[in-house]
Amino acid sequence: MLGGVLATANAEAADLPEDRADFMYHSYIGGGVVANGPAVLVRKGLGDEVSLSASYYVDMVSNASIDVVTTASPYRERREETAVGADYVYRDALISAVASRSSEPDYTADSASLDVAQDLFGGMTTVNLGYSHGWDTVGKTRDPSFSKPADHWQYRLGATQILTPRWLMSLNFEAVADNGFLASPYRAALVFGAAVPEVDPSTRTSRAATLRVAGSVGANGAVRAEYRYFWDTWDIHARTTELGYSQYVGKQWLVDGFGRYYSQTHALFYSNDFTSEMTYMSRNRQLSTFNDLGIGAKATYSIVREPARYEIKGTAAFERLRFHYSDFTDVRTGGLYSFNANVLELFVTATF
């Protein structure tokens, strides 16, 4: 997680991240799913060259989504994720290593990542390289004999360029390769309206490129724009566009607003209802043709501040999402499916 954040490090990549502690409550409510819980992150430097971090994240999920209510029974489960990381500065380079473990009753995921950010040309350019490997074990509730592996390899390459005293640009590329059990053991596909087990290919390779521009505007503001293009060997093509604006208000407030639009085409082996039986068949709406629009806002208040010593801030962030599916129907009504979701984060941050 932290390595990933640093993978798009700013213009002063060879600086260690600041010491901080975050305590957060997060919530997602939408489409019959409620997922919430606490999360904590602590980061502390050791001398001028090393910074260590640890995080703990809990998701308590109550799932009555359309997939679940039409093919199974609603359920509750808990996911926990722990991560530890270390950052090391060597001359103009920042080297970050992170190891994490995520576990829920029917799924465990271990991962390790290494990222390097190197300043070049007097700090005008920062180049990032990163690699992650993930080892998942997919299980199935009430079937202890079901255990299948899934491996993931991620390769990252990016560069951030200072354009002017007010403008930055970055270009990031990431390739992800998967091998193993990539389907859901619970989900069903439909063939002439009859449910059959979902079968996904056991390999997938994807590529994504993101162009980002950020600029300082006015006396206390910043604007950013991002565009990501994604494509993979399952024939999904996706575009993500995001625009954001940040503004200091007085000495104690920082407010942000953003909009995000995402759209994708469906996978080769996706169908709402197959008309013939095929080797690979999925009715996973994540692989269908759909779009989602998110509008969000974030406000940060500086509660206590002792310059050059410490600061405590409180933040509230909210995003409203609208998903609209083009070839996935609600089998209860026969109409195209759509839903709204609310995403909330409340957190306190201490920097010291």
Partner: protein, 76 residues
Amino acid sequence: MKAYRIASGSLLAALLLLAGCSVEPWVKPYERERLADPIMKPSRDALADKHHEHVYDVREGARGATGVQGGGCGCN
């Protein structure tokens, strides 16, 4: 994946060589105060960004090149 490893290795070698070059920065260090402001960072709050990324990850088909790494499934 072998090709990626070779490409990554070559890029790392090229970067190390480039690091030795000297290019006159057209934005001097003392002119970078605005760029160093936290509001210019792509990710200011790692935990909140991780949560947002997880929300997108388990519902959208695309992944990667966001600067935030996810973990686990939490799906369905």
